[in-house]
């Protein structure tokens, strides 16, 4: 036959907890995944990272932070990823993963420092295998692939997760990274927080394909679209994919469909390019509301419990803000100190001249 179909593909959509807070228990691989303890921990984490974010926006407005990229609306993805990752796994985030970073063990104080423009906030604590924030879009994806490749080489039983936004899927680095991962069958999970807006450019102008998930097909592995505001669905999808990666079954691409409730960053004004109605529609799909509705129905989560949680979280945030604000100003000489393992004579001379200049300035 001169004409025949060589390949057809299907893209799966996955959701466990629907918009009304109803769970499809038949799709649950194990009831343990959503024990009362687990679910409450998910919810507490979501409330914590939302509060962190609200405080960050607030600090920015009063001039105490620089430009900040809000995570509002995307908390379910970040909580689900943190729960699915093991401590020994590696994470390569972009710049809209503050929640995930906190839950991986990065101190909130460090995140506030970073967004305030203080280099010291970039320090990831020992034992947390996270890369620092990647400001250029999608350029960290090949690094994640390389780390997965190294883990495969060393036969380490770990997986790598890299997260990025919908805009990143237009970059060469995304395609090149996925291609390598497919060819070498690497232990990696690519997770796109598809919040449908890359600053002012809507998804429809980012790609002509029906889903982002299907882009994985071209690289020889599975892509799936998950409701990104469903913490259970994302958790199951990410956990399955990480487990498969650890078993040597190669990469997975997970597209989490969500929405950026806030501006791109505090330097942006989203009202210039998207409608109030659209935002209002997605506010109703807020992942926190959805999980709370589920807990109210399932375990009669009460106003009193909610208030107690909010109170506890506020206190934690207040303590980390106090920590952040009482940090001594950074020594500008710091800019030399992590440039190389050791400084050349010329750099040492520049550093010394800089030190003199700073000392002179301090004199009244």
């Amino acid at each position: 036959m001169p004409r025949r179909i060589l390949e057809e593909f299907k893209v799966e959509w996955f959701q466990l907890l629907d918009e009304a807070g109803k769970l499809d228990a038949a799709l649950l691989p194990s009831p343990d995944l959503i024990s009362e303890k687990t679910v409450k921990a998910f919810y507490e984490s979501m409330v914590l990272i939302r509060a962190f974010d609200e405080k960050a926006l607030n600090l920015q407005r009063s001039g105490r932070l620089g430009t900040y990229a809000s995570i509002q609306g995307q908390e379910a993805i970040q909580v689900a990823c943190a729960a699915a990752l093991q401590q020994s796994d590696w994470l390569f985030p972009s710049f809209r993963e503050s929640g995930l970073s906190i839950l991986r063990g990065n101190p909130m104080k460090a995140l506030y420092l970073y967004w305030a423009g203080d280099e010291r906030g970039n320090l990831v604590p020992d034992g947390v295998n996270d890369f620092p924030v990647a400001i250029p879009v999608g350029t960290h994806i090949p690094h994640a692939v390389g780390a997965a490749w190294a883990a495969q080489h060393k036969k380490d039983p770990i997986a790598v997760l890299t997260t990025f936004g919908d805009g990143a899927t237009s970059k060469g680095d995304f395609h090149e990274g996925l291609n390598f991962a497919g060819v070498f069958k690497l232990p990696i999970v690519f997770l796109c927080q598809n919040n449908q807006w890359a600053i002012s450019v809507p998804l429809s102008r980012q790609t002509a394909s029906k889903t982002l998930a299907q882009k994985a097909v071209a690289y020889g592995f599975k892509g799936i679209q998950v409701d990104g505001n469903d913490v259970f669905g994302v958790h199951v999808a990410v956990k399955d994919a990480l487990d498969a990666a650890r078993r040597g079954e190669g990469p997975t691409f997970i597209e989490c469909l969500t929405y950026r409730l806030s501006d791109h960053t505090t330097a942006d004004d989203a009202s210039r390019y998207r409608s109030e109605e659209e935002v209002a529609l997605w506010r109703k799909k807020d992942p926190l509301l959805r999980l709370r509705t589920y807990m109210e129905a399932e375990w009669a989560w009460s106003e009193a419990q909610e208030a107690a949680l909010q109170q506890a979280v506020s206190e934690r945030i207040a303590a980390s803000v106090e920590d952040f604000e009482s940090t001594d100003p950074i020594d500008p000489l710091d800019m030399f100190d992590t440039l190389f393992a050791s400084l050349s004579p010329d750099l040492l001379a520049q550093r010394a001249a800089f030190e003199q200049r700073l000392a002179k300035r301090k004199k009244p």
Partner: protein, 325 residues
């Protein structure tokens, strides 16, 4: 005439040239409905429509790469790269292709494109939003590099850049996008590329700067004037090709030169200018040529950025050093 900021002058230049030449098209991220993250393209999509003011998918490499094809085909693309630090993703297109298309097609194809990008620090922005790495591009034969220092300069240089038959990287100093207002003619202003501007005249020392750094340099010159030191202040305007004639004429008169740039020191444009002076005006020199520059470190995050960039005090100190040598 009306008083405009630098960003408004860029906007006016784009309006002007798009009215005049239907082949001029703009492409970039968030330049349409959003009007650009700095609002350089505000109002343009409303006036000229989305086929001439194109919000592209997110890919700097594809923006520059497709602009090359458009330019070769006969359009006059003006691409916006959101910040200079994001231009690195398009280096291969720029260096391997835009810069070489004329040469490697023996002149059959040309590449009259402009890449506009905000550069430099001082706006308290995140990492890679404060880059001043013009030397990468100055070092690339086949690309012209321009950096305006005032609103009127921006308009006149941008119009010339768009009409230039070869690729031009147009670096807009983001620190002074809104810091200075100046009378800018609503008519056409054309400032030829490759010609520096003598902003102040004096016989004791030559100060050379461009972009945002021109302003602390002028301030330093004013402070030295009080002490009786008179400076020639040269606004380089075009960084590649440089206007050696203007620089040499001045140094032959003053015998002293201080070059100011916010870019890192090593192999910055200051080094090239100093070499040029030493090669061609050595016997006029009364003191070593000095550079006041950023350090050879990555540009730090905002908490330390003001310490990184050269300030007026440092420029004054360098002038005193060469005058007292």
């Amino acid at each position: 005439m009306s008083k405009l900021t630098l960003i408004q002058a860029v906007n006016q230049a784009l309006h002007h040239e798009m009215e005049k030449d239907a082949n001029v098209v703009l492409l970039g991220e968030d330049i349409g409905r959003d009007g650009g993250v700095f609002r350089a393209t505000d109002g343009l999509v409303e006036r000229f429509g989305p086929s001439r003011v194109v919000d592209t998918p997110l890919s700097e490499s594809a923006i520059v790469g497709t602009a090359i094809g458009m330019a070769a085909y006969g359009l006059r693309p003006v691409a916006e790269i959101q910040f200079m630090g994001f231009l690195y993703g398009a280096m291969e297109q720029l260096i391997s292709h835009a810069a070489r298309l004329r040469t490697r097609s023996r002149g059959r194809y040309t590449c009259p494109l402009v890449i506009r990008t905000p550069y430099g620090g001082g706006i308290h922005a995140p990492e890679l939003h404060s880059e001043s790495t013009e030397a990468f591009f100055i070092h690339t034969p086949g690309i012209k590099v321009v950096a305006p220092s005032t609103p009127a300069e921006a308009k006149g240089l941008l119009l010339s850049a768009i009409r230039d038959p070869d690729p031009v990287l147009f670096l807009e100093p983001s620190k002074i996008y809104r810091a200075i207002k100046e009378e800018v003619s609503e008519d056409e202003i054309l400032i030829p590329l490759g010609e520096a501007r003598l902003v102040a005249e004096g016989e004791d020392v030559t100060l050379i700067a461009w972009g945002a750094m021109l302003h602390p340099t002028l301030e330093a010159a004013a402070r030295m004037l009080v002490k009786g030191v008179h400076a020639d202040v040269i606004d380089l305007r075009t960084l590649s090709p440089i206007d050696s004639a203007t620089i040499l004429r001045s140094v032959e008169k003053t015998g002293r030169a201080v070059i100011v740039h916010e870019a890192a020191r090593s192999c910055g444009l200051g080094a090239e200018i100093a070499a040029e002076i030493c090669e061609k005006a050595l016997l006029s020199l009364k003191a070593p040529v000095l550079r006041v520059t950023g350090y050879d470190t990555s540009v730090p995050l905002p908490k330390s950025e003001n310490d990184y960039f050269p300030d007026c005090d440092q420029i004054v100190e360098a002038i005193e050093q060469v005058v007292q040598f």
